[in-house]
Every structure is written in structure tokens, then in C-alpha cells.
């Protein structure tokens, strides 16, 4: 109900304002152009998120200081703490960084965003900024129409900056003209009631515009035109800091609990900082005067002093909160517990990652690994082997020979319960995500989807084998028992090797070691067929057993082939170029056949 009323009310008030005051119209147009510039800027930086930003983010997980510095630097460059926080939330949602690192980045982003105030106050108001805006817009728009993704990205950034400058120019002009007709300082409220009132106005303005930058520009330009008092400007800046968390909260709505925790941390940080700033406002203002005199800012230069204030109160917030970062993590974990999801529910796929192609790919990879984890349990139990035995150092031949008890498992039911739904979610997500992707990225997504299909195929092959296997591993005929135990031990070793390769994910050659499994798979197949012949000849097994063994050896071959194919895609991590190279070098079926031929017929 409230939502339905708010928008028409805002539109009506704006329209009324435009009607009675052309200056207000100019200020509002300036804000709109500024926000449009922010959109362009975000669009431009998104073009570069296909690698650089994500790689950098990945490296900031190691320490809080690194995360903090990353937040400061990236927000300073991009001039948008909202974009940094939305990307951080999506990374957290996709499980690429931890909560503590995410909080570090958000703290840093809060400090980074203060550079905006410096730019506007120091540069924006002194230089005739519109003179720069025009050429930027022209060059930017020309570049936006270029084919190259990078040029297009540059174009968006340049045009975005142009619009920002143009917006500031119009706001400045509007406020200056305003000064001649109305004196807004008449509405100034002194003392703490004024501080609280203007803080609330700052929160409201930032929530409406969803940009603390835009609020700050308005504050600074209004302050420069002496339309608000310095004290009220400080309160507005505090309000803008609280209001900016709204973007993070909105961004986290579509994220999982990790994203929500980060948005919670953002809100707590900004609230605590704001409370400290409000309580000690006069002391901080004195501190600002002292810093200003040290760095040589004139007493009357309130715009630069506001920038100093903005930086100081965010630094105070960081200093106050940094020692409690782990407490904050614990608190958020406790207050927002991870919903205990069934193993069949997706953990990493959520709408907050869908717009960042590389992050979406990583989320699909992680989810497919999750699918493989579920499949691993089904395949292992289908072979009547315990997962812990497979993942241990035990001799698998001995394990298979000793574990003669058939594990009760309904593979169909397990598949329906733990695999099918998850697989459908992955397929659905990849179909939606690929629409925003470059051809290369879409190819990678297809490869991952194919890996999911390989996993499902491997389960189905295990199911086909299961009936005979359960019957023959407890058979009185020791020959058929030994053959089926050999299949179990072999497939167990395949799962074990895959687990090793999965763990060595960072080593680019680990995926290439799967080629050894391809060779062994072929050797194993011919060996089984050779053994089979002699078992039939010597009448050690019945013809019925022989056909079962023949079919199941083929199923075992298929399980291995599907799992190795899956491993080649799923266990390859790192840059796309590295994955491409690994796939270029990996031996194909023909090369494996040649190698086997050479081994069988040495010169």
C-alpha cells in the first residue's frame, strides 16, 4: 500500500516543484544526469568484471587488511560503493569469498567512497567542470558504439564521468541561482534536534536516489552556495552514509544467507559509525578544524572541510569496528543461521550472481561439484563401498574382497531425491545465465552443463550394474565374485583418483593427469574381455554369468568415461585461458588409441 503511494507522491511533489521553481528543476535535472552517469559508470565497470575484478577479489580473501585495501582502492577507482558491495554480495553468494573478507571489503568501500567528496569539493567546484564533461561525453559515446568489449567499457566509463560532471555543473548552477531567490538556511535547525532531523533527511534522500554520492554532491553544492549550514551538512553526510546501505540490502534480497549477512554487516557498520559521529559530532568537527589547519584548508572552505569530516568519521568507524570483525561474523552467523537445506537444494545458484558472467560460471561449477558430491555417495553405495574407504589409503582390492555385505540402496529413489531436482536447477540457471554472456563464456557454461549430464549418466550406469553386482558379490562362485570385486575396486580407484585431482585444483597439470585414467580405462576394458574368454572356456562361470559380466564391464567403462569427462571440465579452475590450454593439451580418443597400440605392439 505504502509503495503504491510513495512513487506518485514523489512524482507529484517534483512536478509541483518544477512548476514553481525553474532553479529546483535545474537542480533535479542535475541529480538525474548525475545518477544517469553513475549507471553508465557501473555499466562500464561491469564490462571489466569479466576477469580482472573477480581475480583481484579472489586474492583479497587472505587477510582483512588486504580486503580492506581492496575495498578502498576499488571504490576510489569506480566511485561507487554500491557496485562494489553488490559484486561482493554476489561473490559471497557464490561461495567465492568468506564473510570476514566480505566485511573487510565493505569497510574499505565505505572509506573509498569518501574520495568522492574530495573530488567534488576539491575539483568539481573549483574548475569549470562542464568544460571537461562535453568532450568526455562525445568521446565516450563514440566508443560505446564500438564492437570491442573493452572499448565499449571505456566508452561507458568516459561517458559516465562526463554525465557525472555535467550533473554536478547543473546542480551547482541551480543552487547558485536559488541563492538569489530563496534562502534555505532559514530552515536550518541548530543543536541536536537539527542534527537528527538533517540525518533523517540525508537517509531519505539517499534511499530515494540510491546513491550516497548523489546526496553528497547535493550537500556540497548546496553548502558551497551557502544554502545549508555547515553543521546541517555534516548531519546530512551522516544520513547519506546510513542510507547507502539500502542498496546493499536490496542487492542481498535475491542473494542467499551469506549475502544477507554481509548486508547486515554493512548496516551495522554504518549505524555504529553514524551513532559515534552524531554523539561526538562537535568533537569530530573540532578534529576536522585541526586537520584542515594542518593540511592548509582555509577556515571558510566548508566544502573541503566536509570532505575531511566524511573521511574522518569513516576512519573512526573502521577503527572502532575492525577489532570486532570476528565478533561481528559470529553475531551474524548466530542471528542469521544458514537454513539447513536438503542436499538436493542448490547452494550457490542465486539471482544475485546471474548478471556477472564469470561469477555465474563459478557458481555453476560449484553447484555441479555439489551435484557430484551427491552422485559420489550414490555411486559408492551402489558399488557397496563406503565413501570413507574410497577416500582412505586402504588397498581397494582388499576392501572390495573383505566387504561382502550388500549395501541396501534404492538408486532410483536416491536419484529422484538428491540429484534430479538439483540437476534441473543447474540446467534452468545455465539457460537463464547464458543470455548475458559472451560466446566463450557461454561455451564454458555448456561444458559445465555437459559435465552435469555426465554425472547423471554415471549414476544411471551404476544403477544398471547394481542388480547383478548385488547378486554376484555374495555368490558362491568365487570366479564371478572375484570379477565383480575387481569392477568394484577399479571404480573405487577411479573415484579416489578423481578426489585427488579435485583437491589439486590449482595445479594446472592435475586435470591433465586424468589422461592416465583414460589409458587405464581402455586397458581395463580389454583385460576384462580377455579374462572373460578364459573363464567361459574353462567353464568357471555360466554363460548367463558371462553375459552379465560382459554388460556390466561395459557399464563400468561408461561410468569411468563419464566421470573422467566430467572431471576434465569440473576440476579445471582458474583463468579461462588456462582451461582452454588444458583442453588443448589433453589427449583425445584417437591419441589414446595410438598410445595403446604402440604399447601392445612395441617396435
Amino acid at each position: 500500500m505504502i509503495r503504491k503511494i510513495v512513487l506518485p507522491t514523489i512524482l507529484f511533489l517534483l512536478a509541483y516543484g518544477f512548476w514553481i521553481s525553474p532553479n529546483f528543476k535545474e537542480i533535479a535535472a542535475g541529480v538525474s544526469i548525475f545518477l544517469f552517469g553513475m549507471l553508465f559508470l557501473e555499466e562500464g565497470f561491469k564490462a571489466f568484471t569479466g576477469g580482472l575484478l573477480e581475480r583481484l577479489l579472489r586474492k583479497t580473501t587472505s587477510s582483512t587488511w588486504k580486503a580492506l585495501s581492496f575495498g578502498v582502492v576499488s571504490t576510489t577507482i569506480m566511485q561507487s560503493s554500491s557496485l562494489v558491495s553488490v559484486i561482493t554480495i554476489s561473490f559471497l553468494g557464490a561461495g567465492l569469498i568468506g564473510l570476514a573478507a566480505g566485511i573487510g571489503i565493505i569497510f574499505g568501500a565505505n572509506l573509498g567512497t569518501t574520495t568522492g567528496a574530495w573530488l567534488i569539493a576539491g575539483l568539481g567546484l573549483k574548475v569549470k567542470i562542464s568544460a571537461y564533461a562535453m568532450p568526455m561525453l562525445v568521446f565516450g559515446i563514440i566508443l560505446v558504439f564500438q564492437k570491442s568489449r573493452n572499448l565499449k567499457g571505456f566508452g561507458y566509463i568516459l561517458a559516465g564521468l562526463g554525465f557525472l560532471f555535467l550533473g554536478i555543473h547543473h546542480m551547482k548552477e541551480g543552487f547558485e541561482a536559488f541563492r538569489d531567490t530563496i534562502d534555505l538556511t532559514a530552515f536550518a535547525v541548530a543543536g541536536y534536534p537539527g542534527i537528527l532531523l538533517f540525518t533523517l533527511i540525508g537517509v531519505f534522500a539517499t534511499v530515494v536516489m540510491q546513491s550516497s554520492h548523489a546526496t553528497l554532491v547535493i550537500i556540497i553544492t548546496a553548502l558551497a552556495a551557502q544554502q545549508i549550514t555547515y553543521e546541517n551538512a555534516l548531519a546530512l553526510a551522516i544520513g547519506a552514509n546510513i542510507g547507502t546501505t539500502i542498496t546493499a540490502i536490496l542487492g542481498s534480497m535475491s542473494s542467499n544467507v551469506q549475502g544477507k549477512r554481509l548486508a547486515g554487516a554493512h548496516l551495522i557498520f554504518n549505524m555504529v559509525t553514524a551513532i559515534i559521529a552524531i554523539i561526538f559530532l562537535y568533537q569530530i568537527a573540532e578534529g576536522v578544524d585541526w586537520v584542515s589547519s594542518v593540511v592548509g584548508i582555509a577556515d571558510e572552505n566548508y566544502t573541503l572541510k566536509l570532505a575531511v569530516f566524511h573521511t574522518i568519521f569513516n576512519v573512526i568507524g573502521i577503527l572502532a569496528m575492525l577489532p570486532f570483525i570476528n565478533t561481528l561474523v559470529d553475531f551474524l552467523m548466530q542471528r542469521m543461521p544458514e537454513k539447513i537445506v536438503s542436499v538436493a537444494e542448490p547452494k550457490y545458484l542465486n539471482d544475485s550472481v546471474i548478471e556477472l558472467p564469470d561469477t555465474a560460471i563459478e557458481a555453476v561449477r560449484k553447484e555441479t561439484l555439489h551435484l557430484y558430491d551427491n552422485a559420489f555417495a550414490i555411486i559408492a553405495h551402489g558399488l557397496s563401498l563406503h565413501r570413507h574407504d574410497i577416500l582412505s589409503d586402504k588397498d581397494l582390492d582388499e576392501v572390495a574382497a573383505e566387504s561382502t555385505k550388500v549395501m541396501p540402496i534404492d538408486i532410483d529413489a536416491e536419484y529422484e531425491k538428491n540429484v534430479k531436482g538439483l540437476y534441473s536447477d543447474i540446467v534452468n540457471f545455465t539457460s537463464r545465465a547464458q543470455s548475458t554472456m559472451e560466446p566463450d563464456q557461454a561455451d564454458e557454461l555448456f561444458a559445465l552443463r555437459a559435465a552435469g549430464r555426465d554425472i547423471v549418466e554415471a549414476i544411471k550406469d551404476t544403477k544398471h550394474m547394481h542388480k547383478n553386482l548385488s547378486q554376484y558379490i555374495v555368490s558362491d562362485n568365487e570366479h564371478i565374485r572375484a570379477e565383480y570385486n575387481r569392477i568394484r575396486s577399479y571404480l573405487g580407484s577411479v573415484l579416489r583418483r578423481l578426489a585427488v585431482v579435485q583437491q589439486e585444483g590449482d595445479d594446472p597439470t592435475s586435470v591433465l593427469s586424468l589422461d592416465i585414467m583414460k589409458v587405464e580405462m581402455e586397458e581395463n576394458d580389454t583385460t576384462v574381455n580377455g579374462t572373460l574368454e578364459s573363464l567361459i572356456r574353462e567353464e568357471s562361470i555360466t554363460p548367463h554369468m558371462a553375459t552379465s559380466l560382459m554388460n556390466d564391464a561395459a557399464y563400468a567403462y561408461d561410468v569411468t568415461k563419464n566421470l573422467v569427462q566430467m572431471g576434465e571440465v569440473l576440476f579445471a579452475t582458474g583463468m579461462q585461458s588456462m582451461k582452454d590450454v588444458e583442453r588443448m593439451i589433453a589427449l583425445d580418443d584417437e591419441e589414446i588409441a595410438e598410445l595403446l597400440e604402440r604399447d601392445n605392439n612395441p617396435l
Binding site: S148, N150, D440, T509, S577, M578, V581, L587, E591, L595
Partner: protein, 82 residues
């Protein structure tokens, strides 16, 4: 950095295909280096190994790495030419 070199860098950066080729070239070199290291280590291991079954396994791994390196070197030459 001299101007022609700088221009070449910019051109590479702007041309997405070229940039991709460059990255692949670097990655290929890295993988080939790693494979060479593995090859050396396995050769050393083969020299010391007495168990016939284990020797066969190491030899097989060496054969595979040999083929992978051969394939990789051929691909690297192609990447360098393009």
C-alpha cells in the same frame, strides 16, 4: 616503453581476440614448464624404482606426458605464429 611498443600493447588490449591469444600463449608456456618438471621428477623416480609393476605405471605416465608436451609445443608454435 617506446611508442610503437606501447601502441602494440594498446592494440592487443583493444583487440579481444589478440588478448586471448596472448593469455593462452602465457598459459601454454606455464603448463609446458610444469609438465617438464613432472617429466624430470618421474624419470628420476623410474631410475630408482625396482618394482616392475610400479615401473610400468611410471613409464605409462611418462609416455602420456611426452605426448601431451608434444601436442602442447605444436600448439604453442601455432599460437606464436598467429
Amino acid at each position: 616503453m617506446k611508442i610503437p611498443k606501447l601502441l602494440k600493447r594498446v592494440q592487443e588490449y583493444v583487440d579481444a581476440d589478440k588478448l586471448k591469444q596472448c593469455k593462452r600463449k602465457d598459459c601454454m608456456k606455464e603448463v609446458l614448464q610444469q609438465l617438464k618438471k613432472q617429466q624430470r621428477a618421474l624419470k628420476g623416480k623410474l631410475g630408482k624404482e625396482k618394482n616392475e609393476k610400479e615401473r610400468k605405471r611410471i613409464q605409462k605416465a611418462l609416455d602420456i606426458i611426452y605426448l601431451q608436451r608434444k601436442k602442447g609445443l605444436k600448439a604453442l608454435k601455432k599460437l606464436q605464429k598467429s
